[in-house]
């Protein structure tokens, strides 16, 4: 079955993502959500606007999903990325991964989010408490990803 790999302007539905990877053969299902965090690079953030080169982003998301199946044998995966204006605590990305055993599921989940951050043409513009907005450049200033809860 073709894995889920899509962009959405609606809130990400974790239950639907989990259901899309559930199979009788799996003993582990992991859900990763990247969510909008209140502070980035020391600046108070009030929201993030996500935009994409949509046709290519869909192509890259689908490629990552296909590569996940090839790299992590007998895994199921679903990837969804949100576009538009997001408020604090809203999920910008959801990744569900299922495998017979937890070890592979953890590895695959981590691999998918790192690949997504590396190559999918999506951009975010942060809105700050002082009313200013700025495109986030993970390579160009001493900042880390605003979402995901971890450093790159």
């Amino acid at each position: 079955m073709t894995p889920v790999a899509r962009l959405t302007r609606d809130p990400i539905d974790p239950t639907a993502l989990l259901a899309s990877v559930a199979r009788p053969r799996h003993g582990a299902i992991l859900l990763f959500l990247g969510v909008v965090r209140e502070v980035n690079d020391g600046r108070p953030v009030t929201g993030i606007e996500y935009s994409a080169y949509e046709a290519m982003a869909l192509r890259e998301l689908a490629a990552i999903a296909d590569e996940t199946l090839a790299r992590f044998d007998a895994t199921d995966v679903a990837i969804e990325h949100r576009l538009g204006e997001l408020a604090l605590e809203e999920a910008s990305v959801g990744i569900a991964v299922a495998h017979a055993h937890r070890g592979v599921a953890y590895d695959a989940s981590r691999w998918v989010i790192e690949e997504l951050k590396r190559r999918v043409p999506i951009w975010k513009r942060e809105q700050y408490v002082d009313g200013t907005r700025e495109w986030v450049d993970p390579t160009g200033r001493p900042t880390e990803a605003a979402v995901g809860g971890e450093r790159r």
């Binding site: 290519m56 192509r59 990305v93 951050k117 999918v120 999506i122 513009r125 495109w135 450049d137 390579t139």
Partner: protein, 80 residues
């Protein structure tokens, strides 16, 4: 020949547009497209070697472009 250049996020802000047509000689490459872009106001805000995709696939400066191709200049990606 003409190709369509797509700009996104900070690069679209820099050039003041998200899409433009660029005329090039045949046998042109991605480097030629970027050279044409650099003649435009605001292009000084582009980095020396931006990421580029041709027809939705990552390409290099030496990649060939053909009439009607979609050449996207891609700012540092920030998904997730």
């Amino acid at each position: 020949m003409s190709v369509t250049v797509l700009l996104f996020a900070s690069y679209a802000d820099a050039l003041g547009t998200s899409s433009l047509a660029v005329d090039l000689p045949s046998n042109a490459t991605v480097a030629d497209v970027l050279a044409e872009l650099r003649a435009r106001p605001g292009a000084e805000r582009l980095p020396p070697s931006p990421l580029v995709a041709v027809n939705q696939r990552y390409a290099t400066a030496g990649s060939a472009v053909r009439a009607g191709d979609e050449v996207a200049v891609i700012p540092p990606v920030a998904g997730g």
